[in-house]
C-alpha cells in the first residue's frame, strides 16, 4: 500500500517494417494487393512531383504561399490508404498525397493556392474536410464526426491529421480526452516531421515520444517510422480495425521529416542545418518503397521512368486546366456568398452597395 507503482494498462510500441535500406521485416508485412501497392507508389510520386511543380509555380508568382509536403508522403498516404470512401478525413494542411488519393483534382489544389475560394470546394462524393489552418483545432472536428458515426450506428471512422506542433495545443488534449471518454471511432495521425516551423520537436514537449501522450487519455498509442509506408499502413490498419470494432481511438505518431521549407515564406537556413536535412534524405519514403516494390518484382527502373513521365503529363494537364479555369474566376460578388444559408438583409444591402460602387468607381481592381 504505502508507496506503490501504478500499473498502467496501456503501453506504447514502436513499429518499423521496411528499414532505411528498403529491407523488409517479413512477418510484419501487411497484406496489400499488388495493384494497391502500385497505386500507392504512383500517388506518392505524383504528390512529390506536383509539390515540386507547385514550388516552381510559387517562385514564378503564379500561385501564393503553400506548405510543401516532400518527405511526408508515406506518413499520411499510408494512413488514408486503409480507409473506405465512407470514412472521413480531417486534414491539417500538409496531407496533399492523402487528398490526391481521396480524389482531389490537382487543379483544385492550384486554384486554392492561387487565392480563389473556389479551390476549397469538395465534391459531394468525398467525405473529407477542407484544409484547416488553425493548428490543432480540427482534431476536435474529427471527434465530433466519429461521435456522430457511432450515434448513427455506422462502422466508419474519422481520421484526423496534425503535426508535432499541434500536440501542444489545448484542442489536441481536449480532443483526445473526449475520444477516450466517448470511445469514438477516431484515428489520430500525428505527422511528427521534427519541426513546427523553427521549433524542433525537443522544444515542443519534454516527452520521449509523442505517442506516449495517449497514456494521458486511456487510448491506444503507437509510434511508427513515418517514412515507411508499410509501417504506417499496418499501424493505421490496426487502429482502424480497433475503431470499427468499437474499441476506441488510437494515436499514431508517424516519425518523419519535413524535407523542404515550412511554407514558401519560410527560410529553414535560419534554424536548422543542411547536415540534418541530408541525413533524412537517405530515409526517403519513396525510394525506400520503390526498393520494396522492386524486390517484389512489381517495379523496375523502366517502369519507374514510365511512371515519372505519366505523372508529369498529369501535372502538366492539371496546370493547364487550372490556368484556364482561373481565367473565368474572380467575380468579386462571390465574396458575399456562403456566409449564411440565406443572405441577411444588411448583407444584401452591402452587396447592392458594392455593385453600385463598382459601377461608379470602375469595375477594375480594388473596389476597393
Amino acid at each position: 500500500m504505502p508507496r506503490t507503482r501504478v500499473e498502467l494498462p496501456e503501453a506504447i510500441d514502436h513499429l518499423s517494417i521496411l528499414n532505411e535500406k528498403g529491407e523488409l521485416d517479413r512477418p510484419l508485412e501487411p497484406a496489400v494487393p499488388d495493384d494497391t501497392l502500385l497505386r500507392l507508389h504512383r500517388t506518392m510520386l505524383l504528390a512529390r512531383r506536383f509539390d515540386e511543380r507547385l514550388l516552381s509555380l510559387q517562385r514564378q508568382g503564379r500561385i501564393g504561399t503553400f506548405p510543401p509536403i516532400a518527405g511526408q508522403e508515406a506518413a499520411h498516404l499510408g494512413a488514408v490508404a486503409i480507409l473506405r470512401p465512407s470514412d472521413w478525413i480531417v486534414p491539417a494542411f500538409r496531407e496533399m498525397a492523402a487528398d490526391i488519393w481521396r480524389g482531389r483534382p490537382l487543379e483544385s489544389i492550384i486554384v486554392y493556392n492561387n487565392g480563389f475560394n473556389e479551390g476549397g470546394r469538395i465534391p459531394a462524393d468525398r467525405n473529407d474536410l477542407p484544409i484547416s489552418i488553425p493548428v490543432g483545432s480540427q482534431i476536435l472536428h474529427a471527434v465530433g464526426i466519429a461521435w456522430a458515426m457511432k450515434y448513427r450506428g455506422r462502422d466508419d471512422v474519422a481520421m484526423a491529421f496534425f503535426g508535432d506542433g499541434a500536440t501542444s495545443q489545448g484542442d489536441f488534449h481536449e480532443a483526445l480526452n473526449f475520444a477516450g471518454v466517448f470511445q469514438v471511432p477516431a484515428v489520430f495521425v500525428c505527422q511528427n516531421n521534427q519541426w513546427a516551423i523553427s521549433i524542433p520537436r525537443a522544444k515542443q514537449t519534454r516527452t520521449r515520444t509523442l505517442a506516449q501522450k495517449a497514456l494521458a487519455y486511456g487510448i491506444a498509442g503507437i509510434q511508427v517510422d513515418g517514412n515507411d509506408l508499410l509501417a504506417v499502413y499496418a499501424a493505421a490498419d490496426e487502429a482502424v480495425q480497433r475503431a470499427r470494432s468499437g474499441a476506441g481511438a488510437t494515436l499514431i505518431e508517424c516519425v518523419t521529416y519535413r524535407m523542404a521549407v515550412h511554407t514558401t515564406a519560410d527560410d529553414p537556413k535560419r534554424y536548422r542545418t543542411e547536415a540534418e536535412v541530408e541525413q533524412w534524405r537517405g530515409r526517403d519514403p519513396i525510394t525506400r518503397f520503390q526498393k520494396y516494390l522492386a524486390a517484389k518484382g512489381l517495379l523496375d527502373e523502366q517502369a519507374i521512368a514510365a511512371e515519372e513521365e505519366a505523372v508529369q503529363a498529369e501535372i502538366q494537364g492539371a496546370v493547364e486546366r487550372a490556368e484556364e479555369e482561373m481565367k473565368g474566376l474572380g467575380d468579386p460578388l462571390l465574396m458575399f456568398e456562403h456566409a449564411y444559408a440565406e443572405m441577411p438583409a444588411y448583407l444584401k444591402e452591402q452587396r447592392e452597395e458594392f455593385i453600385r460602387l463598382q459601377a461608379e468607381i470602375g469595375g477594375e481592381g480594388r473596389n476597393g
Binding site: H141, E174, F178, Y340
Partner: protein
Amino acid sequence: MAKMTMVQALNLALRQEMERDPDVVLLGEDIGLDGGVFRVTDGLVQQFGEKRVVDTPLAESGIVGMSIGMALYGLKPVAEIQFSGFSYYTLHQIENHAARLRWRSQGRYHVPLVMRAPYGGGVRALEHHSESRETFWSHIPGIKMVIPSGPRNARSLLVSAIRDPDPVVFYEPKALYRAFREEVPEAEETLPLSRSVVAREGRDLTLIAYGAMMRPTLAAAEELHRKHGVEAEVIDLLTVSPLDDALMVASARKTGRVAVVHEAPRSFGPGAEIVARLVEKAFYHLEVPVARVTGYDVVIPFFSRENHYLPGVPRIVHAARSLLAA
C-alpha cells in the same frame, strides 16, 4: 396552454425538437442527471438517454469543437456552455470554423449547431457569472446571435435556432429564467431569426432593447405612460446579429428620439451598431442624439454593487425624459 417560466419553455423546446428530430443531440457540462445548473435540460436524459443528452468532460473548446464535427456530419448539436463567461474558450472554434465552414467549403458543408449559454447579471452570482459579451459573437460574419426576452419567445427562438442551418449563439438571460411566467402553447411555435419585434407601440420616442433589459425597458415605458403621459415605442431585437434594422429605422423615423438599452459595457457594444444604423438610415429624422443606457466600461461589480451597474427603470425613464426635454 400552460404558464411557464423561461427555463420550462426552453426545456419544452428542447424536448419537442428532440422528439421530432433524432438528429438533435444535447451536450455540455452537467446537462444529464443534474439537468443543467439552471435545470434547462431537466428530465431530458431520463427521456432520451445518455446517447442524446451527453455530459461532457469540462472543456468548452472541446464541447464546441466536437459539436462542429457532429454538425458537419449531419447532426444538430445543441451545446450548453454553463455560463457565457466561459464561452470565450470557444472563440477560436466559432470564428475560425463554425462561422466559416459553409464558406470555406463553398456550400458543401454547413454547421447547424446551437451554442446556448446563460448570460447577464442580476442573480447575485460569483465573478464571471454575470457578463454580457454578445458583441464578440455579433461581430463575426457567419454567426447568428439570438437573445430571447421571455418564456414564449425563448421557446420559439430556440426551436428556430435548432432548425437553422447555420451556427447560432443563443444567450439566455438568466435573470429571466424564473422571473415570470407566460402562456406557452404546447403546439409548435417558431420565430424567424433576424427579425426584431415591436413589443409596445408608441409615438413619442423609441426604446430599443433585448434580453433581460426588456423587463426594465417595458416597465419604464409603462411608468412613462402612467406618470408622464409619454408613449414609448419599445423594440425587442430578439436577434442581435445579423441585425434587423427595418423596425428600428421605421420607429426612429416616426419618433425622432431613440434610446438603446443594454447591460453590456457601452464602448464597442451592441448599442454602437444600433446608433450607426440609425445614423445611416434615419439621420434626418433624428431630433436628438440617440442615447445609450448601458453598462459602464468596467467589469460588472460583484453582486453587492451590480444593481448600480445594470440599467434599471429609473435610469431608462430618466434617459427617455432627457430625450424629450432636449
